[in-house]
Amino acid sequence: MSAPCDAVRNLLPGYLEDALPAADVREFRGHLTSCDSCRDAVVSREPSLLFTRVTRDQVSPEDVARVLSGVRTGIALQEAERKLTLARSNGRRRRAALGSAAAVAVLTLLLPGTAPRPARTAATAVAPPVEAAAPGFAPAARGSSRTFPADATIYDWNPGAGVEEPRVVWIVDRSLDI
């Protein structure tokens, strides 16, 4: 057994205890790759070191190309998903904005004093006779057949509108306890 072999085998305890300097570790490993006798001696004392001989798998250029292609596809999918999520979130924001606007409009109409009020017309002035009022509520603009609840308050949105211009009317039935 040559001197280097002796020296290398003596490094084994330090190697297993992780107490060797980097240079000794390199020497130990390097020697084992080229000396079958030392490798067998070391493996007989620490069998798990058998696996230090396991070399890296040969990864073919085709395998690398497959991985690269998979990564490209993955990135493209992620990008598409990101754009889709962004578009959805924009759509939600737009719908939410429209919803808020609608809610504000309704609240404006329902809550007195929160916004400029449309001209209020006395119910009696517009409402037809009580007998025509069913418990229900008939939409406006039905000509002569239209009916209103007895206790209705009618808000005329544009009271000055002429025949050509459409009239917007909001009717609140005060008799309904809701």
Partner: protein
């Protein structure tokens, strides 16, 4: 034509850059630099993943996930550290996750059959000399199935990838003493499994 020439020149230029420089370029959205990085690092990533997950096909799947994760998280790469350390951290984490997945548990049933065949082959006259690297890799796949993901990762990085303890601690985001503990336990379990699965293998080597 000019575009093709330009791309080819970019690839050639990218091939000459260090890992860190490629990573920094990729972070700025340079896809040529990123692809150069993938091409360069795939063998190392597949190799580490292969030793941990125990199957070549699965290792390639893990490698794809690793590079996707790298692409997503490039902004978080700290250039003060080695790119390899960061890459190995992602690789070992995803490989360990993969090991825990139901898919790898299903494969474990199949591995039992291999184990029986391997045991038949290994008993008797075969010695460590006769074991080629491919067979050793198969043997490692069998005996290391008893290791936890962390133990396996530490053993692979230490004994097969030649990483030192400090680097492994950085890769696994743990202390150096934890790395030593994992390594100690991994060696103990591997010794026991080797003695159980192929007792004849080591007897001939006693000196």
């Amino acid at each position: 034509m000019e575009l093709v020439y330009s791309e080819s020149r970019d690839r050639q230029e990218a091939a000459e850059l260090s890992d860190r420089e490629l990573a920094l370029r990729a972070r700025r959205g340079d896809s040529v630099a990123f692809e150069a990085l993938v091409t360069r690092k795939t063998p190392a990533v597949v190799s580490v993943a292969r030793r941990i997950v125990g199957d070549g096909e699965d290792a390639r799947d893990v490698a794809q996930l690793v590079f996707l994760r790298v692409w997503e998280q490039l902004a978080r790469y700290d250039e003060k550290f080695s790119f390899n350390t960061w890459l190995y951290r992602i690789t070992t984490n995803l490989s360990i996750d993969f090991l825990r997945s139901s898919r790898s548990r299903e494969r474990a049933h199949g591995a039992t059959l291999h184990l029986v065949r391997l045991r038949e082959e290994m008993t008797g006259a075969q010695t460590t000399h006769a074991l080629e690297s491919g067979e050793l890799a198969r043997l490692f796949e069998m005996v290391s199935s008893r290791l936890t993901g962390k133990q396996k990762a530490v053993f692979v990085l230490k004994e097969m990838e030649d990483c030192d303890t400090k680097e492994i601690a950085q890769i696994l985001a743990c202390g150096e003493s934890t790395v030593r503990n994992h390594l100690f336990n991994a060696r103990r379990i591997l010794r026991r499994e080797l003695a159980r699965i192929c007792p004849g293998l080591l007897e001939g080597r006693r000196t």
